[in-house]
């Protein structure tokens, strides 16, 4: 297996990186390109940019952000938010992104996963699953998607997804630790790489997540500070985690 991955996640709104807790209380924390490049220098294995208030008419803005990131960042990055069609995804990849992440659009029309995979390849298709108590939630976790999480994970794989980005809603932003049991159940149910998200508070939490998942998404634990990633990597290596 490739090395476990540390993936800083940057929530983007109106071209700026923002931070909220449990999908609320947004505040501006910087420029996506500057922060992305700094995380790359600090040892990030990949980056995820999630446009959290993307709408159809903002596709050009998303593509422009992806293009700016690609000019400065030489590690892989995923772009999510507002991608509803193969055309949307192709535009973002042509701008230099490596993967797209889809969430509510895939729940609304699961065929989208297969359409993206057949054109872009599975390795470029991340399905983000927001979950609470074994159920999937949609629209930034504000709605019950009326789906069982394990069943949806398996369906995503069958339809051609390349990775699952699993966020435990009740842990998100809490720094209480990842929901390891749920991550393990999902990992057992699929053969795809799983990216753990939601709840990282310290290095031990991340190390535990990397036992059951291929990668850990890092958000509030980093305090939007690339230097925190440097120290976290050091702490993880001391805990015996083999990193790049």
């Amino acid at each position: 297996m490739p090395l476990p991955r540390l993936i800083p996640c940057l929530d983007v709104a109106d071209g700026r990186v923002v931070k909220g807790v449990r999908f609320e209380q947004l505040r501006d924390v910087g420029d996506p390109v500057e922060l992305g490049a700094a995380y790359s220098d600090a040892g990030a294995d990949e980056l995820v940019f999630l446009d959290i208030n993307a709408t159809l008419d903002q596709r050009d803005a998303a593509v422009a952000t992806a293009a700016r990131v690609a000019e400065q960042v030489t590690i892989p990055f995923t772009f999510g938010g507002g991608i509803r069609s193969v055309d949307d995804a192709t535009a973002v990849l042509e701008a230099g992104a490596d993967k797209v992440s889809v969430n509510s659009a895939a729940l609304a029309r699961p065929e989208l996963i297969g359409e993206l995979a057949s054109v872009l390849g599975s390795q470029a298709v991340v399905v983000a699953i927001d979950t609470e108590d074994g159920r999937v939630r949609s629209h930034s976790a504000t709605r019950d998607a009326a789906r069982d999480t394990l069943e949806w994970a398996k369906e995503c794989q069958e339809r051609g997804a390349g990775e699952l980005l699993v966020t435990s809603i009740d842990r998100d932003g809490t720094r209480d630790g990842y929901d390891l049991e749920q991550l393990e159940r999902i990992g057992d149910a699929v053969s795809l790489p799983v990216i753990a998200s939601g709840g990282a508070g310290n290095a031990r939490h991340v190390a535990d997540a990397l036992e059951v998942a291929s990668a850990a998404l890092l958000a509030s634990i980093l305090h939007e500070d690339p230097q925190r990633l440097v120290s976290l990597r050091g702490e993880l290596k001391e805990l015996g985690v083999c990193l790049r």
Binding site: P2, I75, P76, S122
Partner: protein, 183 residues
């Protein structure tokens, strides 16, 4: 000045390759037949990609080349005789062998992994490169592996890498720089 032509045939990822080569000072050209180095990038599905190459006549142009060609990821797999992907697709046949589905570990195989090359080759560093693939080459032309899977194939004027040098940070840039200096 080394001239480089990136094959454009509807398979994504061209922009990142272009940016990486520009950072290294390469002169980009559209002349795939005449460039000092041709780069065959590729992500996506094998069938769509091969159809795209044929439609543009790039399959013939690449077969006729005697100067170096670099295939990246799917670009490596397309250079083989065939791939298992999409129920079986005939490749360019620049390199003997075929691409087969990865049978171990989580697939797609995504992430950073070490590449083990013969010390005398000095084509890669002793470090990790970024991979994202579900198929891997089985070929007598394999010259470096990663966790038992083909990482580099070299045959005649063709070099193929399964990893993405354009996304492998500083190590990837050093690899591309060597390709440019050899061309």
């Amino acid at each position: 000045m080394t001239t480089v032509a990136i094959c454009r045939y509807g398979a994504g990822n061209v922009r990142s390759v272009e940016l990486a080569l520009q950072r290294l000072g390469a002169t980009l050209t559209d002349d795939v037949a005449g460039a000092d180095l041709a780069v065959l990038p590729g992500v996506g599905s094998a069938r769509t990609a091969m159809d795209g190459l044929r439609e543009r006549g790039l399959d013939q142009v690449l077969r006729a080349r005697t100067k170096p060609t670099l295939g990246i990821c799917l670009g490596l797999q397309l250079a083989l005789e065939e791939t298992e992907e999409d129920g079986g697709v005939e490749g360019l046949g620049l390199v003997p062998g075929r691409a087969v589905r990865i049978r171990e570990g989580r697939v797609p195989r995504i992430g950073w992994a070490h590449v083990a090359a013969r010390p005398q080759d000095q084509i890669v560093d002793d470090t990790a490169y970024w991979f994202a693939h579900s198929y891997a080459a089985e070929s007598p032309a394999v010259t470096a592996t990663s966790e038992g899977l083909a990482a580099i194939v070299e045959h005649g004027s063709f070099t193929g890498v399964q990893f993405h040098p354009e996304k492998s940070g500083a190590a990837g840039a050093r690899f591309l720089e060597r390709c440019l200096s050899r061309a």
